[in-house]
């Protein structure tokens, strides 16, 4: 059964092509999409259920029971903020449900620092053909499906 990957934030689906970091726009670590979040304080949620394998203030990875790893990156080059403005809600190693809040942040504050708050959502090490039912560019609510991964 295909894994449905949900949006970690509410905002606008923009795809990876317009992301300024080539690691994402050229799918170096895997295919996926990106969501430009609404500019309001909020929480970034787990895109799938699984183990919170890695957790940094600016990015996290959830790995499903069958080994599918999904990376969510909170903005571009946000490692430079050194955790400033990010609030960890979950703990690395936790099992999390899809939609469970992982990190709190304010995309408007990230943008105010001159950085893009766009969130890439990446199917780690997947082949491009493994993704289907990709959502088209446009508005998305947190938890709504972005793509299916078989």
């Amino acid at each position: 059964m295909a894994l449905v990957v949900g949006s970690p934030v509410s905002g606008t689906v923009v795809g990876l092509a317009g992301v300024s970091d080539p690691v994402f726009s050229t799918a170096m670590v895997g295919p996926g999409t990106a969501v430009d979040p609404v500019r309001a304080p909020g929480e970034v949620c787990a895109p799938i259920a699984g183990v919170l394998r890695k957790l940094k203030p600016h990015a996290f990875i959830v790995v499903s029971d069958d080994g599918h790893g999904v990376l969510v990156h909170l903005g571009i080059d946000t490692v430079r903020l050194d955790g400033e403005g990010f609030r960890l809600i979950a703990t690395e190693g936790d099992w999390v449900a899809a939609g469970e809040p992982i990190v709190g942040w304010d995309p408007a504050a990230v943008a105010g620092q001159g950085l893009s708050p766009i969130c890439p959502v990446i199917a780690l090490d997947a082949t491009d053909g493994a993704l289907s039912e990709r959502s088209q560019p446009g508005p998305v609510e947190a938890g709504e499906p972005l793509f299916s991964w078989s």
């Binding site: 080539p22 690691v23 050229t26 170096m28 670590v29 183990v51 394998r53 890695k54 940094k56 990015a59 996290f60 990875i61 790995v63 080994g67 599918h68 790893g69 990376l71 990156h73 490692v79 780690l124 090490d125």
Partner: protein, 98 residues
């Protein structure tokens, strides 16, 4: 220590030879000022960026290389932290030999 479990459908712990090849690709141990793992990449700072050899890095099996002056990002996927540890271990071993 147990090997890293297979979490992403890829191979488990990378072979130490991969760490070795990345060190070589970055111009050798003496050229590496700093190496820090992020989620999917190694952020490194090198002494002399002209000594960085992308062909060697790519042959080490990395996904890509992104350079901005002396800051070289080696994109390795989610194994970044174990790989960084392997590299640190190798660098420490080499320093002992001097």
């Amino acid at each position: 220590m147990d090997p890293e479990p297979n979490q992403t459908g890829q191979s488990a712990r990378p072979a130490p030879t991969k760490a070795r090849a990345i060190i070589d690709g970055l111009g050798g141990a003496e050229n590496i000022l700093e190496i820090e793992p992020c989620i999917t990449r190694l952020r490194t700072e090198v002494r002399d960026s002209t000594l960085v050899n992308e062909a060697v890095l790519k042959s080490a099996g990395v996904h890509g290389v992104s350079r901005r002056g002396a800051i070289v990002q080696v994109i390795v996927g989610p194994e970044a932290d174990i790989l960084a540890q392997d590299i640190e271990d190798q660098l420490a071993t080499e320093e002992d030999q001097f």
